[in-house]
Every structure is written in structure tokens, then in C-alpha cells.
């Protein structure tokens, strides 16, 4: 059985699965149930001056009848008294000494930071997470993403926190920036032990087309909120990877954003996350999804021969390159397996309307389309739209050309294979 024990920036948990700071970590009773279900750590719902929330506060994208592929919220930090939160943190830590409790914080002044960090640590926090990410409400008060978008402010507040804290400090970054690198580096420069990302993405989730009010509706009005859930995973993965491959950035990452199951978690870890955090999927399905996450990860590690998570964290980072360093002479073509093809011809439509017009009706009259291989550019759109697993495969062609990247072509005149699919 592989060992899932995780040490992320000095915060140790029995597995890499943490609850992100959000409603699922609102109270001690919830966090204890989550630990019973199998979660390894919990980042407590952000503490600060308790706020007043609006109602309603959530919105969701529906896709084929399922709600929550993308999710959005306009809630703020904790609305519960600080004393209650600290009392419950202490109780959780007493009852679950081996699980990680990270306390998320968001306050304004240096004195407030000093005070709230001390109280968190006194309550038993294993780590502190600085919420520099919330993209609504709090940023208008000069906190949250207003801090996360200014590297200098980020670095300064981080350095205060590091000074006041005797436990590891994580900085939670906002994705609402054009380039994540200066922000990750600012946290590092401030002395952070690690970063967590991403927080939610500024968004308007929808509009009620009968009342003409955007969602979520509060009275007759709405406002922008934070986008999260499965749909944001690609954005989160990119930001995590961008930091992981930055030679100037070398503190641990806790990956967040659209993680719904163990596969998603493995992807984040392969791109450099030491631990992962989940919010939306737990809000939609409950704590018990972690059972499959643990088992799925263990089984996958067994299959791959990994004994501990460190054996694979970051394993996909080296193969992430700049476009100019990709081999332009590498050639794939689509092959359709007539035996498993169900004749839906989604591939034909996709290729004709959305790609390079090289999948055609079969001249023999059957519904299995044929690929015009000399014209196929190997884009793999057909493989993506095919509903039958393994029916369309992308097969490598030996075209006789030595590998050549764009940079090699421009710099050293490396020869490129003839272009395909231009129909000229």
C-alpha cells in the first residue's frame, strides 16, 4: 500500500487531499465530519472581521442537465464570531492531532495581522493561509485580490505574517492577473513557505432572461462573483505549471481549482502540486467523494510503482515546453476502427465544419467514414468528438523528416515537412 503522507511546506497531513477554505470548512463540526470521511487536511473558512452575507449567493453552469460544471459565488469571508471559530479549531486539533488544520486569514492592518495570526496559532493551527485572492466584496475594501494583484503589497504583508508566525505560511494567489509569476515570486520574496492557487476567477455566471438581472440575483440586482468548479481546472493547471517550471520559483504549491476526483488531483500533482484543495465538488456532492479519491490515488500509485507522493509530484513539468520548442515534423493521422464505429459521423461533421475537411462518407455506402490520410493534419478533433472509446486513434506516421522545432528552423534552418491540409 503506497504511503500518501504529505508534507506541503512543512504542513504534514495523512494524505494530500485538503478542503479548500470555503463553506465546507465553515465550522468545527463540519471539519470533523470531513476528517472522519477521510480528508487529510482542511483550510478553515477565511477568518477576519466577520461580515454580513447576501442571499442568494451562488450560481452554476448547467451542462446536459447537470448543475455545477462551473460554479460562482458572491459570498465573503466568515460570518461567524472569531471566538467561536478559534474555539472549534482548538477542539478539532485536539481530537484530530494528525490531520492538518490550516487557518485562512484576511485582515487589513499590520496589528490585525499580528493579532489574528497569534490567535490562530494559539488555537492550534498547523499552518496559515493568507487569502490574497477573493475577487469580490473584500477587494473593494482593499483586501483579497486587491492585495494579490499588487506584488509589492503581497510581499510586504507576507513578510509580516512570516515574522509573526511560528507555523508555515501559505499565500493563496488570485488568478485575476495577466501573469502569475510576479505574484508567486512576491510571496516567495516575502518569505512564504508555499503558495496555494487558484482562488476564484472574476465572473458573471449568467443572466435571468425573464427579469433581465444577472445571477445570482439579490433582490433585483447582482454583482460579479468568483468562478470555480470543474470548468476552471485548465486555468488552474496552467498557473500551477507556470510556477512549477519557473526556475526562480522554488517553494511548494498547494493546487486548487476544479478538482473533482483523484484523476484531477493526480494531474495537479504531476504539474507540481504537493497537496491539493477542493471546494466546489464537495459543495455539490459532499465529503464522501474523498473515499474514491484516496482509493483511486492509491491504486494508481500501485499500478505505477510509486511508494510515496514525492515520487511523482512534478513528473509532468519537464515535458511542458514553449511552443517554439515543439517538433514540427512529428506527424499524426487519424485512424477509424470500423469494427467499433457506431456510424454517428460526428467525426465527419467536426472535420468538415471545424477542422480540415478530410473525413468523408464511405464510398461503399456504409456509415463508417474514411480518413483522407494525405490531407489529415492530425489535429485530433475527430478523436475528441467520437463517443466510442478507442474507436478513433491518432497514429504516428514516419515521414522521414528529422525532428525540427520552430526555433531550430528559424535559427538554424532545420528543414520542415510539407504542410498538410491546405487543399491548394
Amino acid at each position: 500500500m503506497p504511503d500518501l503522507t504529505t508534507n506541503c511546506a512543512g504542513i504534514v497531513s495523512p494524505n494530500p487531499f485538503w478542503l479548500a477554505s470555503a463553506p465546507p470548512t465553515n465550522s468545527g463540526e463540519q471539519v470533523m465530519r470531513a476528517f472522519d470521511a477521510g480528508w487529510g487536511g482542511a483550510v478553515w473558512k477565511t477568518l477576519g472581521q466577520p461580515i454580513q452575507n447576501v442571499s442568494s449567493r451562488f450560481g452554476a453552469i448547467r451542462w446536459k442537465g447537470m448543475a455545477g460544471v462551473g460554479f460562482n459565488n458572491i459570498e465573503l469571508i466568515t460570518d461567524r464570531p472569531l471566538e467561536a471559530n478559534f474555539r472549534e479549531i482548538a477542539e478539532v486539533k485536539q481530537r484530530y492531532p494528525k490531520h492538518a488544520v490550516i487557518v485562512s486569514l484576511m485582515v487589513e492592518t499590520q496589528d490585525e495581522w499580528k493579532d489574528i495570526i497569534k490567535r490562530s496559532i494559539d488555537a492550534g493551527a498547523d499552518g496559515i493561509e493568507l487569502n490574497f485572492g477573493c475577487p469580490h466584496g473584500m477587494c473593494e475594501r482593499g483586501m483579497g485580490s486587491a492585495v494579490g494583484q499588487e506584488p509589492l503589497v503581497n510581499e510586504r504583508i507576507t513578510s509580516w505574517a512570516v515574522e509573526y508566525s511560528t507555523v508555515p505560511v501559505l499565500v493563496k494567489l488570485t488568478p485575476n492577473v495577466d501573469d502569475i509569476l510576479p505574484h508567486g515570486r512576491a510571496a516567495q520574496a516575502g518569505g512564504a513557505h508555499g503558495v496555494s492557487l487558484i482562488n476564484t476567477i472574476k465572473s458573471v455566471i449568467g443572466v435571468d432572461i425573464d427579469t433581465f438581472v444577472p445571477q445570482p440575483v439579490v433582490g433585483g440586482q447582482s454583482t460579479n462573483g468568483g468562478y470555480c468548479g470543474a470548468a476552471v481546472r485548465p486555468i488552474a493547471l496552467h498557473m500551477v505549471a507556470a510556477l512549477a517550471r519557473d526556475p526562480d520559483f522554488n517553494i511548494p504549491i498547494s493546487g486548487i481549482g476544479g478538482i473533482t476526483n483523484w484523476r484531477d488531483a493526480v494531474e495537479f500533482m504531476l504539474l507540481g502540486s504537493t497537496s491539493v484543495q477542493v471546494c466546489t465538488e464537495v459543495m455539490l456532492r459532499g465529503y464522501r467523494i474523498v473515499e474514491d479519491m484516496i482509493e483511486g490515488l492509491e491504486t494508481w500509485m500501485d499500478d505505477k510503482g510509486f511508494a510515496k507522493t514525492d515520487d511523482f509530484v512534478g513528473r509532468a513539468v519537464p515535458s511542458y515546453q514553449e511552443w517554439g520548442d515543439l517538433d514540427l515534423n512529428f506527424e499524426l493521422i487519424a485512424k477509424i476502427d470500423a469494427a467499433t464505429c457506431i456510424g454517428c459521423q460526428l467525426c465527419m461533421v467536426a472535420c468538415h465544419d471545424g477542422a480540415h475537411q478530410c473525413i468523408h462518407p464511405n464510398p461503399d455506402g456504409s456509415r463508417v467514414p474514411i480518413v483522407d490520410e494525405p490531407e489529415c493534419v492530425g489535429c485530433n478533433l475527430c478523436e475528441i468528438v467520437c463517443p466510442v472509446p478507442e474507436c478513433i486513434t491518432m497514429v504516428e506516421v514516419d515521414n522521414g523528416y528529422a525532428p525540427a522545432t520552430w526555433n531550430q528552423h528559424v535559427g538554424q534552418g532545420a528543414p520542415l515537412r510539407p504542410k498538410k491540409g491546405s487543399h491548394d
Binding site: N261, R263, I289, E291, G296, T299, V388
Partner: protein, 436 residues
């Protein structure tokens, strides 16, 4: 291990009525599951499998975890996936019914996960640390197998006494081959027994070959899982004609070997329960041109499941309702038909309604004999209504003697036998603990 079944078996000509999913089909169906909280399907499963949990694991590609969840609740999860009447159990309670959306095909998904587990040879369970205790189990059907496996997980040694040479009980000898064939049931028995520490004695009829006293002295506790008795027959004129027999016996012959149906042009099955429906579907599947189910009540009041009868009708099978057989008619020592009368709404014979339904083969599916005196000699164990009397943990009136499955519940399903066997195993463990 007893020898495999002969390769020449009539049952091998049947294809699966519900074919297996391909991985793509399973994944699509799994992704439809809503992952309900406190899901009604779980409550509808006698073994309480975490259905949304195992389905989610199929959806995420965690097949090993999926199979483990199933087997952890029900070690007969592979056969149950095929033979359970899911329409009236888990699938019947899927919340999608309330939306007018087709329910999740739980049985087929369960079959997918468990078949992959068998194919890959995954093992999930180890015997518990040896307790030094030994339990004797009578009968090697689903009830005893489930009990034995659970007892082994708890560390108790087991010995199973079975009167036949084949193991698996009616799962091997009774269930319709278009649900599961005998060899598949035997592979399940082997899979269960891989936990080790279960001694098997076949060809032993209790109490004739080994007395209850002897069993009680050999073991610290006993589990009785001997199922129901032979087919009940009707004492009518002509019952000794060739071609008249019990349906369960005929099904067993068809599953364990080849039955000779040469010259049989038409068949009649008497009864209106699930065994009757199985028999008419099996006869039709084996090529009998005309098979009729003859039942004393009306279609609305038949005891067989509506979904099973609907499938029979789809095969073109007809029934003669509200008929009472009064004699078998013969022709040269062989049956040629069943003489019947119509019954009116008060189940009274309608005068002058006598008629003969032609049949070269007549199978009786009017129930199996209840237990009579098998347990005489076991003081404290009572029989009521043909069932062994047990409490909710499977305990009989005699300390240390437990029972489950058909012999205690009067004849239900494989999944009930599995649930009762497992529950009794736990009760035995608790009882042994308490004795220390």
C-alpha cells in the same frame, strides 16, 4: 474442489438476456448516476451495497475500488449482478423513475465492475487471525457461502457439508442460464473459497450421513443453509406417465447436463411463479415450438414478477389463465396432454369446461417442498410453516445454531440468502465472543 461441469450442457445454448456492458457503455451509464444522498437504491438492496459509491468509482475509472465496495457488502456481488430481480430491488427505487427518466442500470454496472475484478484476478479479503473456533455449515448454497466467507474474515475455521457433488446451491443448479450459467456460479464459489480455511465435504446429507449430534460435537457453532426441498407434485390421474416431472429438477438437469427434447412439440408448465416463467422461457429457448404456462389464477394475480412475464411474452410465450389441471392424458405410457377445467372468479370449477391442452412434456412449478424433519434431533430448533424459525440475526431457538437463506425465509432470492448468511456469521461471532 469438486470437478467442473460437463461441457455438454443444454444451458450453454443460451445467450445473456442482459448483455454485459462494454467499458464505454459502463462509463456513460455510470456518469448518469446522480450520486444521491442516502440513496434509496441502497436501502432496496438486501445486502446494502453502497451503490452510488461503486458507480462513482466506475465513472472515475477506479474499478478496483468499485469492485471492493461491492464485495465488501456482498461477496456474491458477481452472481447477484446477474440474477437479482433488480427491477423490484435497487433499480426499482432509482429516483430517476420519478423524473420519467430511465433508471440507472445498477445490475449491469455491478456486473461490469465485478466481471473486471474476476478477469483481473483482484483479491480483496484476507482471513482474520485464527480464533481457534470452528463452524459447521450445512449446504453449500449462497447462504452458507456468504456466511463462511464472513466467518473466515472474522478468523473462524469453517467446514461445509453439501449433499450434492456441485457447489453453489440453486445459483449453480437453478437460475436461468440466460442470467447466469452453472460454470459462472462455480467460478464464484472458487473466488469466495480463495480466502482459504473452508473445508468442503460433498456427498454428505445431513443428518443421514452425519448426525446433528456429530456436527455439534465437531463444531463450536452451526449454520444451516440447506434451502428448500424438491418440487411439489400433484397427485392426479396419469402422474406416472413419462414426461411429467418437477420444473426445478428439469432445470437442474438442463443446467448440469444435456436434456433430451427430441419429439417434444409442445410443453406445458404448471404454475405462475418465477420458476414457472423461467421454465417456459427455457423450453422456448431450447426450441420447443409451443410452450404454454397454465396457471390457476389470472395474469393480474400471478406471483411471478411482471418484468419476467413481460420478457416471456416478448418471446411469444402464451399462458392459459384460470385453469385447474385435473388429469394427465397419456398415449402409450407417455404424456400427451393436460386435462383442465376453467376456474371462475371464486376459484370454482366451471361446469362443462373440461378441455385438454396438448403437451409432450409437463413440468410442475407449483413450489418446492418445505422442510419436514431434517432438523429433528436438534432440540430447540423449530419449524413453522415449513421454515426454520430464526430471529433477526438468524439465531434458532438452540444456542449456537443459526440458519439463513431459503430454509429460513421460505424462499426468496440469492441476495437475501447472501445477506442473511453474512448477518448470521456476525451474530455467530458475537455469540462466540460472549461465551468466552
Amino acid at each position: 474442489m469438486p470437478p467442473p461441469l460437463p461441457s455438454e450442457r443444454s444451458e450453454t445454448s443460451f445467450a445473456d438476456f442482459k448483455p454485459a456492458y462494454t467499458p464505454g457503455q459502463a462509463s456513460m451509464e455510470a456518469n448518469r448516476c446522480l450520486f444521491c444522498n442516502d440513496a434509496p437504491c441502497i436501502a432496496a438492496c438486501p445486502t446494502g451495497i453502497d451503490i452510488p459509491g461503486f458507480i462513482r468509482k466506475i465513472a472515475t475509472g477506479n474499478l478496483r475500488g468499485s469492485a471492493r465496495s461491492i464485495f465488501d457488502a456482498n461477496i456474491l456481488g458477481m452472481s447477484c449482478a446477474r440474477v437479482c430481480p433488480v427491477e423490484v430491488l435497487c433499480v426499482g427505487d432509482c429516483v430517476y423513475h420519478h423524473m420519467g427518466v430511465p433508471p440507472i442500470q445498477i445490475g449491469k454496472l455491478q456486473r461490469h465492475a465485478t466481471d473486471v475484478a474476476y478477469g483481473e484476478g483482484w483479491r480483496f479479503f484476507e482471513a482474520g487471525p485464527d480464533t481457534g473456533k470452528s463452524i459447521g455449515l450445512v449446504g453449500a448454497g449462497p447462504a452458507s457461502l456468504a456466511a463462511a466467507h464472513e466467518l473466515r474474515r472474522l478468523g473462524h475455521a469453517c467446514a461445509v457439508y453439501e449433499r450434492r457433488s456441485v457447489l453453489g446451491g440453486l445459483n449453480t443448479t437453478g437460475v436461468a442460464p440466460y442470467k447466469m450459467r452453472g460454470d459462472r456460479s462455480l467460478s464464484e464459489v472458487a473466488w469466495i473459497l480463495r480466502i482459504g480455511g473452508v473445508a468442503i465435504e460433498t456427498g454428505v446429507r445431513v443428518p443421514d450421513d452425519v448426525s446433528w449430534d456429530e456436527l455439534s460435537s465437531r463444531h463450536d457453532a452451526l449454520f444451516i443453509g440447506l434451502g428448500l426441498g424438491a418440487d411439489r407434485l400433484l397427485d392426479l390421474p396419469g402422474s406416472d406417465l413419462q414426461g411429467v416431472g418437477g420444473a426445478v429438477a428439469w432445470i437442474e438437469a438442463m443446467k448440469l447436463g444435456a436434456v433430451d427434447l427430441s419429439g417434444v412439440q409442445s410443453a406445458v408448465v404448471l404454475g405462475g411463479g418465477n420458476t414457472a416463467i423461467d421454465a417456459v422461457r427455457e423450453l422456448t429457448g431450447l426450441g420447443i415450438p409451443k410452450t404454454t404456462m397454465v396457471y390457476r389464477r389470472t395474469e393480474a394475480r400471478m406471483s411471478g414478477y411482471a418484468h419476467e412475464w413481460a420478457a416471456a411474452k416478448q418471446q411469444g410465450i402464451a399462458a392459459a389463465w384460470a385453469r385447474q389441471p385435473i388429469a394427465y392424458e397419456g398415449d402409450g405410457g407417455r404424456v400427451a396432454g393436460v386435462r383442465c377445467v376453467h376456474l371462475d372468479d371464486d376459484a370454482q370449477a366451471v361446469e362443462g369446461s373440461g378441455h385438454v391442452i396438448p403437451a409432450d412434456l409437463v413440468l410442475l412449478a407449483i413450489g418446492q417442498a418445505r422442510l419436514a424433519d431434517v432438523v429433528s434431533g436438534l432440540d430447540g430448533v423449530a419449524i413453522e410453516d415449513g421454515r426454520l424459525v430464526v430471529d433477526e440475526h438468524g439465531a434458532t431457538g438452540r444456542p449456537g445454531v443459526y440458519a439463513g437463506g431459503d430454509c429460513a425465509n421460505g424462499g426468496k432470492e440469492v441476495v437475501n440468502a447472501a445477506a442473511e448468511g453474512k448477518a448470521a456469521a456476525r451474530a455467530i461471532d458475537t455469540w462466540l465472543d460472549g461465551k468466552e
